[in-house]
Amino acid sequence: MYLQTIELHFDVSLELPVRLLLDPSEDSWQAVRQKALDLMEIMVGRVEGLAFAGCCEFHSLSLPGEFDRKIQGIYRKVKNIPVLIGPILESWQKHASSFVTVLITGKRPIDLDDWTGRPEGHPAPKLIIVNLEGKEFQDEIPEFLSSDPLESILDEANNPPVSIFVEGDGFFPLECKTNQGALDLDFYDNQMRLKLNNWDTSQRLSLRLKSLGLTDPFMVIERRNGTSEKKTGQEISSYFNQPIWTPLTDAAWTVIQAGINRQDFECPFCRDYHAYQTVFCPNLGRFLLDGIPSKSVVIIDRQQRKFLSLTDALLAWQSGHDRIITMDGMMYSWEDFGWMFLNEITPYENLGNDFFGLYTEG
């Protein structure tokens, strides 16, 4: 298999969606309905749908006010059916990705015991039980029961990400654009990960990515309670333009030429001679690579007298088929077993084909 260039868009909510499971018993219906409305008011946009305990049919709620319009009609069909949660939770586990279930009930569900102390291989979903009546099972299942009021339910439903990253078979990120957070490369065990830091959970995350890989990479969201989700991206094409190469100024070209040839050079500014790797004039305290950003990794195209700066968006540059230079100046090559770290680029590192790499400390 060969490395391919892949362009994907990840558009994900960092908050877990909420599904409501409602007790259909007539004697608690008004209280259940009101609590559901109150919850939806504080969890704006997070409640993706509902079902009644005892009925596997799922009702999505995607429009504002849909609950009010739909609920009485649905309720009439299921009034007083047995308060069973197992078949619904199992069907949701099979067909949906991560979510939180909030069960609002006035009765102990008949099959509640099936969801406590589950054996290995049969994990229980995240379930919050809002018990509206009495103490029938108040102390029995502390891992599920929510202590009303609404704010504490909201707090329990929150399971924020603790780690967000993209990885995949042969994955190596080249370019990336995100609407939030800061990106970081993380190399371990011959694999590369793209990590997101400083995200805002309340905002959707939109991340467009151009990368190399054997298969499509995926996003992993690890959450506070130890669960994790894999998200796949949508294929996009031609979102990323060709990287922009900028012509070198005459002054910068003088310094770079000397550097490539490993020769001392006459400083274009102080006229003194400096060692070939000097990029900061010791006499004038001035950065010598005029027009090139300091403290960044740049690629020099000697034939075209142009440079390319690796920035936050341009994470890495591919030299030839299997060699990569990252924005933090590290070189990697693709081998049979995965990515291999080669070295940190040296001043005017020869990258082949008349390209040279340089970290512009300044």
Partner: protein, 202 residues
């Protein structure tokens, strides 16, 4: 002895010996299965299966978690109701499911010993089964014809139902012959563990 296996709508297995012309389930119908029916549109059709109805039924043979360790295994299985209720469940399962005939049940009884000695095979074949199946097989809860629930089956002439089986001795100490027909009073304690299983012709 070769067996074929198939799974009913609820993910529970039925087996068929190469000499048989029928499949028969390896467990009596469980509450886990019946609750799938209760949560389906068929379960809601008649407005009969209400929360209070089911809770009342469970008083006869209380429920326990399918994954729980219990010295009262009869609590896993649906029992204590009339054949009409069981019939609704059988219809829900569709696919030609029916009550076993009495001689089909007796043929299962004949091979129970062999099957219980080969539960590893059954376990392997049940990799796509509903969660309780493998758990119960591991606990040695298979077949249950020689000692288990009492069960409704079709009578010899298929004109009605009769009850067969030998109750769990921990529920009702006994030396009954499992293959003999029994008359069970509706208000007796034994009625509370009268169950049934599924069969289909093939």
């Amino acid at each position: 002895m070769e067996f074929n296996i198939l799974f009913d709508k609820t993910g529970f297995p039925l087996i068929k010996n190469s000499r048989w012309d029928f499949f028969i389930s390896i467990f009596p119908v469980s509450k886990y299965q019946f609750e799938l029916f209760l949560c389906s549109s068929q379960g809601h059709k008649r407005n009969f299966y209400s929360d209070s109805w089911y809770r009342e039924l469970l008083k006869k043979n209380p429920r326990c978690a399918w994954h729980g360790e219990t010295s009262e295994p009869w609590r896993h299985f649906l029992s204590g109701e009339s054949p009409e209720v069981f019939d609704d469940f059988i219809k829900y399962c569709g696919n030609g499911m029916r009550l076993p005939k009495i001689d089909e049940w007796r043929q299962l009884l004949e091979v129970e010993h062999h099957l219980n000695e080969n539960t590893d095979n059954l376990y392997t074949l049940c990799d796509i089964a509903a969660p309780p199946v493998r758990h119960w097989l591991r606990q040695g809860l298979g077949i249950l014809t020689n000692e288990g629930m009492l069960e409704f089956v079709q009578s010899c002439d298929s004109s009605g139902t009769t009850i067969i089986g030998r109750p769990f001795t921990s529920f009702h100490p006994n030396l009954w012959s499992p293959g003999s027909e029994r008359e069970i009073e509706r208000n007796s304690k034994l009625w509370n563990i009268v169950s049934f299983r599924l069969a289909m012709s093939k």
